[in-house]
Each structure stands twice: as C-alpha cells, then as structure tokens.
Symmetry: C2
Subunit: 353 residues, 2 copies
Amino acid sequence: MIVFPMPKHPSDKTGKPGRRVTLADVAREVGASTITVSRALRRPEMVSEGLRQRIAAAVETLGYLPDPAAQALASRRSNVIGVLIPSVTNNVFSDVLAGLYDTVGGTAFNVQLGNTRYRAEVEEELIRIFLSQRPAGLIVAGIDQTPASRAMLAQAECPVVQIMELGEDPVDMLVGFSHRDAAQAATEHLLAQGYRAPAFLGARMDPRSERRHAGFRAALAAASPEGAAPARELTTTEPSSVRLGGVLFDRLRERFPETDAVFCNNDDLALGAQFAAQRAGLKVGPEVGICGFNDLEVMSAAHPTITSVRTFRRETGETAVRKVLARLAGEEAGPDVTDLQWKLIPRSSTDRG
Amino acid sequence: MIVFPMPKHPSDKTGKPGRRVTLADVAREVGASTITVSRALRRPEMVSEGLRQRIAAAVETLGYLPDPAAQALASRRSNVIGVLIPSVTNNVFSDVLAGLYDTVGGTAFNVQLGNTRYRAEVEEELIRIFLSQRPAGLIVAGIDQTPASRAMLAQAECPVVQIMELGEDPVDMLVGFSHRDAAQAATEHLLAQGYRAPAFLGARMDPRSERRHAGFRAALAAASPEGAAPARELTTTEPSSVRLGGVLFDRLRERFPETDAVFCNNDDLALGAQFAAQRAGLKVGPEVGICGFNDLEVMSAAHPTITSVRTFRRETGETAVRKVLARLAGEEAGPDVTDLQWKLIPRSSTDRG
DNA sequence: TTGTAGGCGTTATCAC
DNA sequence: GTGATAACGCCTACAA
C-alpha cells in the first residue's frame, strides 16, 4: 500500500504562502513522470487505464489545477478566445456575448473581450494586442476592418470569425446575415401595408446601420416609378437611445409632415418613436407605422406591440464559438460562411387596422 | 553609427511562421541584457536615460510586444482581473461591465468575465478556476458567496472587490449601495403620493431582489399602525422581462383588486406593468402608480415617464477596477467600503395629478 | 505506453 | 545602473 505524503496544498498555512500544486507534485504522488500526467489530462487515450485513474485520483486529492500561463508558454497557444465588439452595453452585442459565454462555458477556453467603441483604429490596436497572446481564436464584429487589421487577421495562426454581417471575402470564417436585405424587407412591408410616405430614422450609423439604410433606399427606389422618391431620412452619429428615437421622430414630422411610417435603425429608436407618436396624440398603426430592428424582447410586450426584424444574436455568438472550437479540433477547415438569416415580425405598430 | 540588422518580424514570410520578437531580440539590438530591457519597460527609472531611449526605439522598430503568458509565469501574477457576474445580458450588469472595460482600457490589465448564472456553486467553481490563473484582482457580484467561496477569496493573494451591495463584513473591499434602503424609500414615495394599497412585483428574486423586497415590507410595516398591512406581493423565480411585468401586473390586479400602485423589482417589470395597465385602460399615475428600479434609460423616455430608483452601475464597475488598481499600486491597503448611494427619481407614473 | 532533455519568454535574486 | 543565472510550470520532440 502506498502511503500518501501530505501534499503542500495552497491552503496549508505552513511554509511559503500558496505554494502551487504542480504537475510534478501529481507525478511524484503516483510515481510517474510529469509528461505522463500531462498527457493523462489532455489525451487520456494515450495513457494506460490504471495509471490514468491513479492520476485522476491524485489530481483530485491534491487539488491540482493547471497553470494557464505555463500551458500557454509551453504550447505557444493560449486558451483565450479574443472577442472584439464595438460596445458592451448595446443590447445587440450583449446578446451575442451571452451566446459566446454560454458556448465557451464548460470548455477549457476563456473569452477575452475587447471594446472597440465603434472605432477601427482601436480595433486595430486591440487585434495587435490580442494576437500577442497567441489566442486560440479571434472573433471580430463586422467586416470593415482596416487594411492593417485585415492583414494581421489573415496572418493570424488561429481561427478567425467575423460576425454580424455577410460579405464578399471573409478573412476566414463569417457568421451573420444581410442587413441590407433585412432592411429592404422591412421597408417593403411598410409599403405593402399601404403606408405611402415611409421615412428612415438612424442613429450611430456604423457600417451595419449604413447597410440597413441602403436597404431602405433600395426598397423605396424599387417602389417609386421614376426613382424620384424624396428622401425622408434623418440620421445622426449620436449613439442611439429611446429618448433619441423620440427626438428624431418629432424632428422628422416637422421636416416631412407627410411621413406616415418610420423604419428605425434599431428597436430603441422605434420604441422612442412610438412614445413620441403617442405623446403627439397619434394612433400608432392606423395613423403612423413604426418598425424597429433586432426584435428585442420589449417589442412584443409594448403597447401597442411593435413590428421589428428579428435577428439571431445569441445564435451568432454560439455559432462563432462553435466554429472556432471545431476548427481547433480539426473538424473543419477552410473558409466558411454561415448565413443566420433574419425574420420580419409584423405587429400592431404597422397594422393600419 | 549602429547598423540595425533586419529583425525577424512575424510578418516575414521567410523561415518559421511568426517567430516572435522577444525581449532578447530587443536586447541584442541595443546591446544590453534582457533583464535591462525588461526593467526599462517596467521600471524606467531604474535604467539610465540613454539606454532607456535606445530601448524604446528598438521596441518600436522591432514591434516588440511582451508575452503575457511568460510574464505571468515568471512573475507569478497575471494581468487578468477576474469578474464574476450572474448575467451578461441583464442591463444592470452590462452597465457595470461598461464601467469595468472603460476603466481597465488603456491599462496593462485585462478583464476576464465569468458568468455565474445566478448560481452560487457555479460561482464557487469559477472562483477556483480564476484563482488558478493568479489574477491581478477579483471582482465578484454580491455578498452571498458560499463559505467555500468566501474562504478562497479571503486567502486569495490579490485584491478582491465585492460589488452591487453593502454588507457587514466584506471579504476585502466592497462597492455598492443598500438595496433595502432604496426600496424602502421608493415605497415610502408611493405612500407619500397618496397611494393606499401599494404592491410588490418581483422576478428572479436573487439576494438583491430579496433585500429590495424587505425594504418594501419595512416601509409598509412602518406605515401601517398595527403592522397588519396585507401582503400584496407577487414574486417569481422566473427571469424578469417586460412581458413578465405585464403578466404579473394582470395577475396582481386579479388577486388584489384594490391595488393602486406597484413597486417593481426592476425596470423591465415596471415597463411591462405600465403597458399592461394601459392595455387595461388604466391611467398610469392618477389611477395606478408604477415605480421601477435602476432607472434604465427607457424610464425617462417612456410615455408616461416612469418613476424609478437610480443606481450607479457604471460607476460601480469603474470604482471596482480603480480600487483594484490602487491596491496593486500600493496606494491603498486594508478593507474598504464604498457606498455609491442611490437616488429616487419621481416621474409621471407616480404622479396622481 | 512511458520517459528524457530542452526550451517557451520573462522576471527574481544576487552579484558586480 | 547593469548583468549572469536560475527559476516559473508546462509541453514538444525525440527516444526507449
């Protein structure tokens, strides 16, 4: 029978504080070499049944936890999946994040977030820094990276996923949907409902907003015989908010009194527009149509309920991580584009009754 | 004059892909030792002016970036500040996150997020894992850790900040406010406005929700002569949502028809309650008072505007990180409690007109 | 299936 | 002020 020497556990108050339990400790415990223990942990099938079990037991009793820094240094690959998004607070991205964290949870990987604040230079800088960590993978929002960013991503020795959009030539993998098509469909819906003078309300106007804007215009152009449709649009670079939606709505009606419907860049604006319409005594739906984008939870609960275009944000995060993991597991290779689609959800706010 | 040999930059297509620029490369370049370069980077004052400048130049031209894994391994301290929160999507926490990322941005530190999903066991597990990374600091939501979690945090060799609440004995540092007091004040506001039968609506019911619940009860107890106030309350463990706010509101009115005001656990519920009230044809304010919690942006933009209790979420994140950084810089020491306060914001929804 | 040797890139320690 | 040397804990490559 083997006598187990008292291990120096971090919780021991004796000796140097917190001496770490290492692979060597486990190895000594079971009378094997460190590399064998290492293998038992990462490639159990390479180690004999008996040894494997004794190692597992020792790991348990000693409370061994691998040191990620040492792993990263030795293997030249960290367990960090870098994620670059323009905003942490925006509901859209926090849903994506939820998907990311859900999918990465339970795996040996960690998400490391970078906030680009909607600025390409910041993104470039962050890509550089993230890459210096030898990430296991990189997930970046959008397809409008700077040339330098693209070059770095292309050379990166890890899977790269661009998310939230579709595009011509992804750096590596791509998960998203067509903002242009979605916006065009939403606008067509307004026209189909009989609204004659739909307007566009946009805030922040990042690349994705611009593409939605383009979709709105395309729908109008297609509908107007001579392509002479007046441009009822109000956009701002200000960050979007419910309050701003109201402000823009009021301003819009002042400038284009004939407006009878608005397609908003996102749901916050739409909600604000609806409140503003109600303040103005307008009957939302019959008198003025309102359509948002993203279909946040509040849209289906509002009074009246608000039409929107559902986007699959959580799924975006999940899919992106899964693609990274699959690539790392050698299950997939080569470029890959996943269209997550979108879905128009008509509700009372665009029902003319 | 020194001739600079062509460095092996990662972007070189020659040789092994991506050979990293190391401290040694920089050292060779300037004719110094690695340790000196290391010092020049971390403690410039320990290196002579001239050398320091040549090193800076070499770092620049070579494009040297430190390897965090190697740094962590050698220094036994990573640049990771671990953050444990119950939810990534909840607006409350995403605001905190924004504060965290803002404050950590530009520093050499990184935030690593752990999603506890409102479960103490998950939190415990995550604390264990995070600690194995030798984090630079740890920020955890709430004060209701398991005993094991508390023990680990207490022994952690890094600054620890509990956030979002106030409490008796913090593990180390604490940044938050009193949910109980805030809720009590909100309830007193309802009573002061003349509402006779205020009710409580609660979802999720995590520890902080429970304390708000307690605040509601305390206010009622203080107001009712015999302490015989009937308990008009409806709570659920379901995650909160706008839709749920409506459902609960309807159910509440069914069960307690006399209800003339509701204090909601959070703003989502309040917004949902307001929509439901409007659907029921009630005049919000005069006929039924509605008060939320947190004062999300939408509250001031809604129609009518909704009373809420403002909490300083972004500031919470900022303060937590600053405390960690200060401690690491040796600027502060010892336990420390920061009360970030709260503020009642009365609006139309509790104005009986 | 298991082990040996060496190195990953940086910092701590102790000299000079 | 600067440098040699030895870790830090683990993994890759190769050998047995």
